[in-house]
Amino acid sequence: MVMDHHPEHPDVTAEMWTRIDTILDEHSSVPGSLITALRLCQDTVGYLPPPLLDYIAEGMNLASSQVFGVATFYSLFSLKPKGRNIIKACTGTACYVKGIKEILNHIRNSYSISEGETMPDRRFTLEGVRCLGACGLAPVMVVNEDIHGNVDPKQVKGILEDYQ
């Protein structure tokens, strides 16, 4: 079901709406596909602003409250805009034992962002994530798609300088 109106939102362009409509069209009749639809829509826009959630609910023929409940349950979904570069610091046990705390401190001090926050210029979003399953490389920091293992706190700044 494609709706005839799109709510206005500065972060969602016309092309994005077209893509969103396609996603909803493909998934609205598949039971249980809300999470998949939310993931694809987030991939399209970068995050899930609440008006978009309402739109998805309508498109999927579900209650808006339910969609909001699902979107806020899973840590994958973000209702706030994210930075151009996403730093994922692994807070799994192995990385914890090997000192991810210090790395987080370094990032916090250097860029004035805490876990879950985005810099005002949207350069970085810092996320403390669950075990990435790369315990052999602890402590691990993933920037966008790049995995950085055995990170020394002193290297952090150097690594991050490559991401603007």
Binding site: P50, L53, D54, A63, S64, S65, F68, T72
Partner: protein, 401 residues
């Protein structure tokens, strides 16, 4: 015959009345006969060995039907297992953990509201382990948010958490209260949402989604952040809520109360008067909660057709007219363009005279419009009056469905 037997049983054995609910159950486990419970259970177990569909709760052999939960069997037999999140008519969620019982052979305590009775099952509803767990659960609820102001709480005396705290003698003093996390919401004319009182039992969500099927609220966020949310976590007035108040009636604490609840007598101070809603033809059964000859709250009558406790926004909140200052208390007669007060006799005489004159002179010049706010019987009389006295079929009603 049956009654006589029951009464004589009570007379001869005063204990027969005690086991039911007069005896505070929290005390039961500390009583001397509790120690012999297992012995007693063994005896009963032997007696029922060859009977299908029997189970033992607190040493009593009880029959059950397939699909009944432990809680249902217990309640049917007047064994008082406390519940909190359990909402009749909705799917049991097992969320609050207040109704846990000890089932012999089970690894952990089980929620009686969700576990179906099985043949030979042996249940202890108030064992020391159960009481320990309930006390901690209640303690945890009492210290989540803010539950230390019963003195000024509108739900005091009508609060399940308060009742449980009393029953299990829990003070909520072990931990530091976690305080207010989400601000109170009052931006609508009907409902006050106080999240610091919410214990996340989920009854409101079930009332909204399973009973009314309005789907305006749901669980949002996760873990300690969990909150009951509307779409986009907006205020109720900006959501799909229609203010039927089903959630308010379902709320066991003071997280959802009528908007003016802090300004009017508490529910527990009022007397319930059962009546029929006069707004439409459905005939919902409702309780008017009255104090000093004034209606302060309206709730749906549970377990009675046709509404089984549900009401709509009009039935539940539309009663301010009863005590309205603008309501007429004496008849008024208009003379020379202005109203003056008159006696009932004078007014009725005038009306009767004018009806006679007008209806006598012109056929169908008079019509009668009755109100939904009067009873069926009164409406019947009105139409009878129209047809036989005024001799007109011009009779109608403001709330024809």
């Amino acid at each position: 015959m049956w009654h006589t037997y029951l009464i004589s049983a009570f007379k001869t054995n005063p204990l027969a009345t005690r086991g039911v609910c007069i005896l505070p159950t929290a005390v039961v486990s500390f009583l001397p006969w509790q120690t012999s419970l297992n012995q007693k259970t063994d005896k009963v177990r032997l007696e029922m060995e060859h009977k299908d569909k029997s189970m033992i709760i607190d040493g009593r052999a009880l029959r059950f039907t397939e699909g009944e939960t432990i809680l249902e069997v217990a309640r049917r037999n007047h064994i008082d297992i406390p519940t909190l999140c359990h909402l009749k008519g909705a799917t049991p969620t097992g969320a609050c953990r207040v109704c846990v019982v000890e089932v012999e052979g089970a690894r952990t305590l089980m929620t009686s509201c969700t576990v179906p009775a099985t043949a030979g099952m042996v249940v202890h509803s108030e064992s020391p382990e159960v009481i320990r767990s309930r006390r901690m659960t209640i303690e945890l609820m009492l210290t989540s948010g803010r539950h230390d102001d019963c003195l000024v709480c509108p739900s005091s005396g009508d609060c399940r958490l308060q009742d449980l705290a009393f029953r299990y003698k829990v003070k909520g003093a072990t931990f530091t209260p976690s305080g207010v996390k989400y601000p109170m919401e009052a931006a609508n004319p009907f409902i006050l949402r106080d999240f610091s009182k919410c214990i996340l039992c989920g009854r409101c969500v079930q009332a909204c989604n399973e009973v009314q099927v309005n789907e305006a609220i749901d669980f949002g966020y996760r873990g300690a952040e969990a909150k009951i949310v509307t779409k986009g976590d907006r205020a109720l007035k900006d959501s799909d809520c229609v203010f039927c108040g089903e959630c308010v009636q379902a709320c066991p604490v003071a997280a959802l109360v009528p908007k003016n609840a802090r300004l009017v007598p508490r529910m527990s101070e009022t007397r319930a008067v059962k009546t029929t809603c006069s707004y439409c033809g459905v005939g919902c059964q409702m309780n008017l909660h009255v104090k000093n000859n004034r209606v302060w709250h309206v709730t749906g009558c549970e377990e009675v057709a046709p509404n089984h406790g549900s009401l709509c926004v009009k039935g539940r909140y539309g009663f301010d007219f009863i005590a309205s200052e603008h309501r007429l208390t004496t008849p008024l007669i208009k003379e020379n363009g202005a109203f003056r007060e008159a006696s009932w006799d004078e007014a009725l005489d005038l009306t009767a005279r004018r009806f006679k004159e007008i209806a006598g002179a012109h056929a169908d010049a008079v019509g009668v419009l009755t109100s939904a706010r009067v009873t069926n019987e009164e409406n019947y009389i009105a139409q009878k009056f129209a047809r036989t006295v005024l001799k007109t079929n011009n009779i109608d009603h403001c709330a024809r469905l």
